[in-house]
């Protein structure tokens, strides 16, 4: 019985969402009374994992894992799970980890549970709380199966520092043959992504046209935030589809979500519901979004946003 965390990295840096998964793993390991092991893939600087309570770090270095594919990464993790007799694997809820988790659960015949929001209430039977119905509900779910794979909802547990031995051990994996290859990756560089952002600044039709988006971008820049938009805005081509957040767009689970000129259709709220704090700026006091918001300003975005940008800049 051991707890293993897959600590996802990008460009040799352990992702923040992975540190949250490790923090969660540590709490669970303590509850079970076991040690906490982590596995990293092609990451030469995993030392930070020690600060979050990791006892042992399995270090996999392999050229065939240069590009992420759910098949090859599942295969690699499966080898660690087998060698270490792991019964619980913790994943973050990044796009790659969720992708990998389901495929891996199929390969290992394990039981996978996603959007988990707390450490298990009970170990026998193993019962965890997860969000469902686009955050309009939660369930207390009983998991059975020899291998349990748990993907935790972003920003639901937070980062908790802890001391661990942090011993690094190279883990050699057997050959991986993949029947799927990555032929191209196009990625914006230097921009905060919606999935990784602590703060997301989003705008809707209330901004009147794409030419006014510099306001959103400037506000996002002073806050170190990602930019997003409502569905009509992406449908009209004002902004790229990749910025569309909502039920059929990207999900947002940030600490702070600022919505400018978005009325708050139920499909939009379904996608951003799990953000912790919501600020709504809208000139229509009847906009349904105010009912879902923590803080609201009834006012003209074209007056409020420039002032807000100036004040935030002066604050720093």
């Amino acid at each position: 019985m051991g707890v293993l965390v897959y600590a996802e990295s990008e460009n040799n840096i352990i992702k923040k969402s992975a540190l949250e998964a490790v923090s969660y793993g540590k709490a669970l390991a303590e509850k079970i009374g076991s040690r906490l092991n982590c596995v990293v893939i092609n990451c030469s600087e995993p030392n930070i994992l020690k600060q979050y309570g990791t006892d042992k770090i399995f270090n996999i270095t392999n050229d065939s894992l240069k590009d992420f594919t759910s098949r090859s990464y599942s295969n690699a993790l499966q080898q660690v799970i087998k060698a270490e007799n792991t019964s619980i694997l913790i994943l973050s809820s990044s796009a790659d980890s969720k992708y990998l988790g389901a495929h891996l659960a199929g390969f290992t015949d394990g039981s996978f549970i996603s959007n988990v929001v707390g450490i298990p209430d009970n170990l026998d039977p193993f019962t965890v709380k997860r969000s469902c119905f686009t955050n309009k509900g939660f369930s207390s779910t009983e998991l059975t199966g020899d291998i349990k794979i748990i993907s935790i909802s972003a920003n639901s547990f937070g980062l908790i520092e802890n001391n661990g031995d942090g011993k690094i051990e190279d883990f050699h994996i057997e050959d991986i043959s993949s029947t799927i290859t990555v032929s191209n990756i196009e990625k914006q560089s230097g921009k905060v992504t919606i999935a990784d952002a602590d703060v997301v600044v989003s705008a809707g039709r209330g901004l009147k046209g794409p030419e006014n988006w510099h306001l959103v971008e400037e506000l996002a820049e002073v806050l170190g935030a990602a930019t997003a938009c409502s569905k009509p805005v992406s449908d009209m081509g004002w902004r790229p589809h990749s910025e569309h957040v909502g039920q059929t767009g990207k999900p947002v689970s940030s600490n702070l979500y600022i919505a400018i000129g978005i009325s708050g259709a139920i499909q939009h709220l379904a996608g951003i519901n799990s953000s912790k704090i919501k600020v709504v700026i809208n000139n229509d006091p009847e906009a349904p979004f105010f009912k879902a918001a923590d803080y609201g300003i009834v006012g003209d975005a074209f007056e409020v946003i420039p002032q807000l940008i100036t004040k935030l800049k002066n604050r720093k």
Binding site: C132, A270, V280, I297
Partner: protein
């Protein structure tokens, strides 16, 4: 080419979410059920592939007879055949295994699922099917092109797009982008009439044991009333975000 589209019957987004039987069950009373939106993007793509790839499209759901209405709708949209595996859908693992049992009997070159359902939001079924069958798998799939038995797929990744190439059989998790919302097919009278002639086969379930059982549901805590800040008091907003909410 043989395509299977897995369909989930989900409550419409605007539905009230309530629980009954001591909070152990979702209250279906008065709820309108629809084709899971992510599945519908996949279905539309499959219908297009009838022309581009000479595909034969089967839709499948795991559920009781209340799901027949959406299967008929899928047939009216253009699917050739519908299958319902007759049992209560309890968890992703048992549902996936029921689908896998069927895929072992009828070979499909491509299995399309939505990236996740809008009710339980698990996002598990496509990956589990791929894993159980040892098929290739691409989720968050925003484009798909199959030529000469090779599939080229684009996947939405954090901050960009990744293109993969693979052999068939393949499982994809469909989402918006694979087709656009404006591409969705609204059944016309001819489609609805034709759907009545198309086969809807009911298969008995293998009664596979569920692994993840929702024992109890909760509603989120009631939200506190929004704090309104006057547009000329932005310092107050900054102070609240910094010191009360502690998010900046």
């Amino acid at each position: 080419m043989n395509i299977l589209v897995c369909i989930s019957n989900v409550p419409d987004t605007t539905s009230k979410i309530n629980f009954i039987d001591n909070d152990s069950k979702f209250d279906k009373n008065g709820v309108q059920f629809i084709i899971n939106p992510n599945d519908e993007f996949g279905l539309t793509k499959a219908i297009w592939m009838k022309d581009s790839n000479n595909a034969d499209v089967t839709v499948l759901t795991v559920g009781d007879s209340s799901a027949d209405a959406i299967l008929r709708k899928c047939l009216a949209i253009g699917a050739d055949k519908a299958i319902r595996i007759d049992c209560e859908a309890i968890d992703a693992s048992s549902v996936s295994k029921e689908i896998v049992e069927h895929c072992n009997e009828v070979k499909y070159d491509l299995v399309i699922c939505g990236r996740e359902s809008i009710d339980y939001n698990g996002g598990l079924v496509p990956g589990l099917i791929a894993g159980y069958l040892d098929y290739n798998f691409v989720t968050n799939c925003v484009s798909l092109n199959i030529e000469n038995g090779k599939a080229k797929c684009s996947r939405e990744i954090s901050g960009g797009i990744e293109v993969t190439e693979s052999d068939l059989p393949l499982v994809i998790g469909a989402q918006k982008g694979l087709v656009e919302e404006s591409d969705l097919i609204i059944p016309n009278m001819r489609g609805i009439m034709m759907a009545r002639q198309k086969p809807l086969e009911v298969l008995s379930a293998k009664n596979i044991k569920a692994r993840a059982i929702d024992k109890k549901y909760f509603k989120p805590q009631e939200k506190a009333e929004v704090k309104l800040i006057k547009p000329d008091e932005l310092d107050k907003l900054i102070d609240l975000l910094e010191n009360e909410a502690k998010v900046i």
